[in-house]
Each structure stands twice: as C-alpha cells, then as structure tokens.
Subunit: 208 residues, 2 copies
Amino acid sequence: MIQNFSKILDKAIEEIAKLPGIGRRTALRLALHLHQLENIEVEQLLSAISRLKSELHTCQECHNLSDTPVCTICTNPKRNHQLICVVQDIRDVIAIEATHQFNGVYHVLGGIISPINGIGPEQLTLEHLFEKINNNPVEEVILALPTTVEGDTTNFFIYQNISDKVKVVSTIARGIGVGEELEFTDEVTLGRSLIGRTNFETAYSKNN
Amino acid sequence: MIQNFSKILDKAIEEIAKLPGIGRRTALRLALHLHQLENIEVEQLLSAISRLKSELHTCQECHNLSDTPVCTICTNPKRNHQLICVVQDIRDVIAIEATHQFNGVYHVLGGIISPINGIGPEQLTLEHLFEKINNNPVEEVILALPTTVEGDTTNFFIYQNISDKVKVVSTIARGIGVGEELEFTDEVTLGRSLIGRTNFETAYSKNN
C-alpha cells in the first residue's frame, strides 16, 4: 500500500480512509474509481456531500435531520403530536419510519446516557424533551432506546422526569425476533419475552 | 432504508451509494458521519477528491498516475529504463513497488485483452508499448499480468509483437504463495509450480 509517486493520490487516500469503516485499501480503490469518473459525476457527488453540511438542518422540534427548520414529520398535521417516540439517533427514525407502524412524532436524543463514555444527560436533548412535555399535552411517550445497560439507564432517567406529566410511558417490546428460533435465542431475551408475554388475540390482531 | 423527510440526505445517499462496494446502508452511515464532521474536515475531503480529477495526470511514458506529466518513476535516473514491467493497472504498480524487488520502469496497459468484455488491443496502451520498444534499447520485458485466460491471451499477444526486438521476455513466476501449505493449493497452481521449478541455490540466493 506504499506508493510515493503521487502526493495527490496519497492525500485522497488519507482523507477517504478517515471515513468510518473504510481502510486504506478501500480508500485507494475509491480514489482510483473517482479519478476515472466523468467530471460531472464527481461534481454531483461533491455537491451532494457539500449540501449535507451547508443545507441540512437539525429539526428545531425533534432534532431529526431536515431540509427545513422544522422537519416534515413535525409539520405533518396528519400525525399524532401527542404521541412521542424517543430514539437515540436519526437512523432509528429511519428504521421506525420504514415499518409504517408509527404515526406519532419523534424526539431524537443524539445519544444515550453513558458515564463510561462521558455522556451525561446535559449532552443530550433531554432538557428540550422535558420542556416539550411540560408545555404541551402528551398522551404517550414511547421509549425506543437500545436494550443495553446504557439504554435502560436512559429509560429510567426519562421515566423519573416525565411519569407524572404524561398518561402512558411505554418501551418497545423486548422479545424474540420474527422468524427466529427459540433454541438460538439468548436466555435474557427469552426470559424477557416470557415476562412480557402478550395475550394471544392481541398479538395476532396487532399483526393484521 | 426508506426515509422521505430530507431530499438532501436522500441525494447524498444516492450519490455515495454509486461508489463501488458501497450499499445504501453504508452510504447512509457515511452521509450522517459527513454531516456531523467539522466544516474544515469535509472541505479537506472534498478538495482531495476534487484534485484527483483536476490535478492527477496519467504519465505520458508509462500511463501510471502522476502529479506531473511524466511520473517520478520514469524520471528517476537511478532506475533501469531498459527493464520494463508490463502490468494491468496502477494498483499492480503500487503492489510491485511495495515489494522493493523491482528497479526498472513500468508500462500500465489499462486492462487486459478480453473479447467477452469487448476489450481488444486497441483499447489498451499496447501500441505505445510497442512503439517504445521499437525506438529504445530494451533488455527485458517482464509480463506481470493476471494468471487468467485473458492474462495469458494478452501475454501471447505482447510476446508475438516484441520477441524479436528485446533480448528477454519473462513472466512473473506462478507457484505456491510464501507461507502456503501444499495440500491446500489447487492442482493447476501446484502443477505449474512443478513445471516452473527453480534450482535450489538460485531460489535461496534470490531470497537473500
């Protein structure tokens, strides 16, 4: 991977290899590919990346990404604004939107509480969440955070701050993935899926 | 992966996913990463990519990539200009340079003859190679092309055109990789390594 005949290629490899999950070998392959593309194709890529910095905003309401100051989910009058789904980051919004099972609005925390990584409540958008709940009628808050110790810690922290202000605080179901075999499921998940068992008729009506 | 709240994000995902080996999920991860970077970091990346198009040249002598009209390998007086190593593309130059075993110059074909992919001799830099060999004293041409049918076809084509003009035409050795077990080597490679067996003393003196 050592080459010393082009500083321009070296610099491109160095910059591309800074991207997450891209090593120097992949960076070289991408750099050579980019060099061989038509000018217009490279310009379109550069312009699209550039606009990510200059024109992509964080929604003032929910901290989701947005082309406008307030995102299209928060400004959609057909969505239930009294149902808030709290997620760690924008990828979770995309994942939940793809299910077509949720018609409320979101609140993106920008992370979860993780003392070991130096992330406390003040680094997240929690204050804004509490403020919204204090100032607006909210029926239910769904906590859709990772099922980890940090996720649980964040869940409890939020619950303590909002439980007396909203009717229902719920978390997404922990259980066995659809299509998974019981024998290959870890004990903790299997145990939780027993504790959180669902009435037969409810379970199947939800699927319809 | 469906999201419809940001056209800017969509466009960036679409452009990034056009790169080889990058799917839409990775493109999303990269787009979010780029959005979160500092302006200066994104500018450095964009500038490095942009220079790949605007400032990176193809060497007039060997068709390697170069920051100057003629590359630093071709302009290096310490290298043996009568020893030409013919390779498929620039990645092969980088790989061979990394071995520190070669002190000649290169000729990058830009591909190999492959009728099935519509690549004939005229799409490659073969004419230029023959012209160089006709007009300059060349001691040896090393053919370092892939050990495939297309590679062999290209080897024979080059050999027919240059064998009466250079003293030696050689190909890189086909054999068992250093550190590999015989029992896991395919028969063709093992067979070739027997046919191309090397005198014991020569083999070990080459390694020193």
